[in-house]
Structures are given as structure tokens and as C-alpha cells.
Amino acid sequence: MNILVCVKRVPQTGGRIVLTPDGQSIDTRFLGHTISPHEECGVEEAVRIVEKEGGTSAVLTLGPAEAEEQLRDAMAIGIDRAILLETGGTEWDPVSTAGVIAETIEAQEATNGEFDLLLFGNEAADTGDYQIGVRVAVALGRPVINGIKEIWFSDDRREVLARREAPGGGWETFDLPLPAVLGVKEGLNLPRYPSVPGRLRAKKKEIERVALGASPSGALGLGAGEDAAGIDSAIPGPTKLRLRLPAEERTAAEVIGRGPEAAPAVVDLLERIGVVAR
């Protein structure tokens, strides 16, 4: 199995989000970054599949030069190779992002052969656009399903079977012929921590870089491409104007006590709000 995982570098925000003065992005001066959680599980799954089935795994990201860090993290747990579509830092809209990723996959496959499986996160943690994987799949003419929490293969390895949670509880199974595209969710597996030798190996690996430039408008012509599902040109967007923080509903918690001595006061409260019978 040859597998590609698309990941995104996102800030590791903590207690409160702080925005840059121009309202265009999160102030990340004091923040670390991480691979968006759903995609971390995609990376782990790709490594497990290749460990079991053979083949190769690759990771791809579109982002700033610093996103190299997330690619190396993925290689540290066992991904074979990495591709960085370097943006120069500003955020790209989802239509343009998907267009460039689809084109890159086509170019990669022309030289390295087809990917049997493309893994995406169900949604990116920061923008939550819920669409890049679907757009790439449609551009490449491959079947796609999102929300996946379990993946296995048919005996002849021609199909991928995948499960997602049904709206009212329970599970729904899908059965897609390969090559296919899956949007996965956290819970698919429990990602391993990278080992020290893994980190050292990842440090030495080459990263394939493609310079894209600073602004999404530079990519407008790229869209989903002429050959994509008969679409002549895609319209980019939505266009971000600015970010803002929602009105805060801050309360100051009423301290009802300290230590185990607070137990009677807590139970009084539980009785008052009716969760413990008086």
C-alpha cells in the first residue's frame, strides 16, 4: 500500500486565544505548534498500514517554511518521505489549497506511482473548513468518505473498508475501491510517541520543497484545474476579512471550600441543584 497523509500545522493554543493587532491571525509568539489532532491519527494509521502491508508512506503539508517541524514529527514516527508546499506564511483559502494539493498529488503520482490511499483529517483544527479532502478527491475522481474511525482492507486488497459513527449512535460501514480518499477522526487509533532514534532518522531525511509564494491570490489560476471533474476554473474562497474573539461569558467561580472539608458544602450544592436526592 502506498499512502499519502495531508497534515496541517496549527498553533497549540491554550487557555485563551490572542490575536495579532491586524486581526489576521493568532499571535503565536508564545505558542508551540502541532499537527492537527485528526491528522495525527492519519499519520499513525499510515505507518501502521505500511508496517503491516508493505509499501511506502508520505506526508504532505501546505504551509510556512516552519511546517517542516510537523513533517519531521510525522517522519519521526515512521513516515517515509515528506513534501512541503511552502506558502510564505499567509493563510490560503480552502479552494486554492485543495487545488494545489490535487495538482501536487498528480505530479507525485506521475513520477512515483499511484497512492492507494489518501488520508485527510475530517476537519483542520484551526480553520475547520470541512472540505479539503472532499475537494481533492473530486478533483482526482476518487471516492471519498469522512468521519472515519476504523480502517481495514478486503482480502484481495482492492477495497478499503471504513467505519464511522452513525448520527443516532452505532456505526455505518463504507466500502470503497482503491485508490480512495478518507477523512479520519481522532479515536481512529492512539498515536505513538516518536522514539529518539526515530527523531534522529527524521532529522536526516530530505524534504521535497515546492515554493508557492505568499498569497492565495497568486494561486487563483490553479483552482481545481481544467481536468478536474470538467470544471474550467474554480472560484477561490471564502475570503478571510478578519478574525475576532467571541464575546466572553466569564464568570468568577464561587469558591465553596478548600480540601476534603468542603465535602458537606459540595453535597449541599448537589442536593440544591437536584442531582443528589435530599
Binding site: 491554550g14 478533483a139 452505532g170 465553596i256
Partner: protein
């Protein structure tokens, strides 16, 4: 060119989904601003029955396709049906619920048409260029954006828009039946198997009381005391991403952005710092009680009540106190 606003309505058991009613409410407001009609698309064998009852939500015209192949989730086929409506009706916008399915189906519509799609919108202002506000980071951050395309595709963030009060005297909508042309490729990704819920005890999303544990619980074994307290209140136990990443609890117990959204009467956050990604999962709780050694941890800004100290002594003390009162309340024999 009708310029109508078309809402895509998901349904189950003959009823429109709650999130679809929220999407309808936003779509109805938008139609009013535009001075255009509000339509609905309802798919599957049950679709027409559901559609008939949408008059009270302001729908004037409902497009229904009763093809049984649309009964189960098949995102490309559902999207092809919506595109059929777009072709015949030339609407100004398609509005769907920001549910897993709604987002996925609209992404397909956007991908096939080459139009942008805005997920989890909370407000729209039409004009020469349409302005909208959408949620990022599961609602911890808002984005103001422009959306321009022949047809605007958007989904409505869950629980961000109030459902309109029913206008029960409104007439049933006019029904237009249609038969979307489904290509074999549209039906490749469709449900082929189903497993029912295997529920043991009260679920996190249904429980009236949820006890959440974070890194402060210290170990997988430390959760036994939370289980014990929860069982006294017919509650359920959940946790932060730290405890699922460490393997102390299964991921299905995770509360937050990449886990579950809960809305109990009481959420007891034990040894949880209150990161924004955790808070988006529990902020719908009626009340939050925090048990934490750190009086300055961010959870204090969202909690209603707090006990400061070590949960390892506080949680067992609360359990003991509830049991003591139960004993005392029991008639002596």
C-alpha cells in the same frame, strides 16, 4: 433565476433533524433579507412526509426525491441531487446544517461546481459581496469572511441559531418531485453495513451529571474514584485529551473540540485546566464545578463553583458524604 434560498433538510424517523431546523431558521432570515422565497430539499422515501410539515418553518416550495438509493448516507449522490435543484431553480444560496453530513455533502457540491463553501456560519449579510461570520476552532474564534459565487454554499454552526417558533397556521409547502440522475460514481461511497449502538450504562451525551477527569487525576486507576462518585448520581465519566492521549481512558470518553460535546445539568471538572479545546465540549453544561489545586487555572473563568485542593482527597470525601447522608436518611431498623 429564482434567487431563492434553498435549505437542505436532513431527517430521521420521519422528523427533520434539530440542526436542520436551525439551518432553516438562518435560511429563512436570509430569504427575508433578500426578499426571495425559502425552499427546501428533502431526500429519500420519507422525504415527502417530512417536507409536508416544513410550512410551519416558512418553506414555500419543497423539492423531494423519493429514490430509495438516497435513504442511506451517500454524500456524492446527495450532492448530485442538490445540484439538480440548483440547475432547475438557480437559487441565491444553499444552506445546510453544520452537521457531519451537512458539511460533507456541501463540500461535494462545492467541489463539483468549483464554488467556495463556508462551514459553520453564524451570521450572513447579503449584498454586492456577501459577508458572513463563521466559527473556527469549534467556536473559540470567529472569522468574518466574504463569500462570492453564482450560488453561495454555507452550513450553519450547531446551536448558534435559535429555531423559529412554529407558525402552525402556515400552509403546507408546494411539493415538486424530482428524479436526480445518479451516476454509478455517485453511489460508490454509501452505507453498506450498519451496527447498532452497544450501550452500557448512561452515555456521556445523555447523562445529567458528568464527572470529567484531567491530568490531575494522575493515572488510569485514579478514575475509579470518579466512577464511584458518578454512579451515586447516575452520571457518566469523561475526560480531557491528555487522559485519552495517555491511554488512561478510551477516546470515546474525550470531551472537547476533537471529542464529544456534552450538555449535562452538572459538569464536575476534576484536575482539568480548562483549555479552550476542552471548554468548547462542556460549555453547554448548565453548571460547572471545578475541583483543582490551582485557584488561577483557566477553568475558574468558566466554572460556576470551585473547590480548591487535591481531587484525590476531595472526590472520595464527597462520595463518603453522599453515602453518609443516605445512611442517616434511612429509617433505622
Amino acid at each position: 433565476m429564482s434567487g431563492a434560498v434553498v435549505a437542505f433538510v436532513e431527517h430521521a424517523g420521519g422528523e427533520a433533524d434539530r440542526l436542520s431546523l436551525e439551518a432553516l431558521a438562518l435560511a429563512r432570515g436570509l430569504a427575508k433579507l433578500l426578499g426571495k422565497p425559502l425552499d427546501a430539499v428533502v431526500l429519500g422515501s420519507q422525504g415527502e412526509a417530512v417536507a409536508r410539515r416544513l410550512g410551519s418553518h416558512g418553506v414555500g416550495l419543497a423539492h423531494t426525491a423519493s429514490d430509495a438509493r438516497l435513504d442511506d448516507f451517500a454524500p456524492a449522490a446527495w450532492a448530485a441531487s442538490i445540484r439538480d435543484v440548483i440547475e432547475r431553480r438557480s437559487p441565491a444560496a444553499i444552506v445546510a446544517a453544520g452537521s457531519e453530513r451537512g458539511n460533507e455533502v456541501l463540500a461535494h457540491v462545492g467541489a463539483c461546481s468549483g464554488w467556495p463553501m463556508a462551514a459553520n456560519v453564524v451570521e450572513v449579510t447579503p449584498g454586492d459581496s456577501w459577508k458572513l461570520t463563521r466559527q473556527r476552532w469549534a467556536g473559540s474564534l470567529l472569522e468574518d469572511a466574504a463569500l462570492d459565487a453564482p450560488v453561495r454554499l454555507l452550513t450553519v454552526a450547531p446551536h448558534a441559531v435559535a429555531v423559529d417558533p412554529l407558525n402552525t397556521s402556515a400552509p403546507a409547502p408546494t411539493i415538486t418531485r424530482f428524479e436526480p440522475e445518479l451516476e454509478p460514481a455517485d453511489l460508490v461511497a454509501r452505507v453498506v453495513g450498519r451496527e447498532a449502538k452497544t450501550s452500557a450504562g448512561v452515555s456521556l451525551t445523555d447523562a445529567k451529571v458528568v464527572i470529567g477527569g484531567g491530568r490531575g487525576v494522575g493515572s488510569a486507576a485514579g478514575f475509579a474514584q470518579l466512577e464511584q462518585l458518578a454512579s451515586l448520581m447516575n452520571g457518566a465519566v469523561g475526560g480531557s485529551r491528555v487522559v485519552t492521549s495517555l491511554g488512561w481512558r478510551p477516546h470515546s470518553d474525550q470531551i472537547g473540540q476533537t471529542g464529544l460535546r456534552i450538555a449535562p445539568d452538572l459538569y464536575v471538572a476534576c484536575g482539568i485546566s480548562g483549555a479552550i479545546q476542552h471548554i468548547v465540549g462542556c460549555k453547554a453544561a448548565k453548571r460547572i464545578l471545578a475541583i483543582n489545586t490551582d485557584p488561577d487555572s483557566p477553568i475558574m473563568a468558566v466554572a460556576d463553583y470551585a473547590v480548591i485542593g487535591d481531587l484525590n482527597s476531595i472526590v472520595p470525601a464527597i462520595t463518603a458524604e453522599i453515602e453518609r447522608r443516605r445512611e442517616a436518611g434511612r429509617p433505622s431498623t
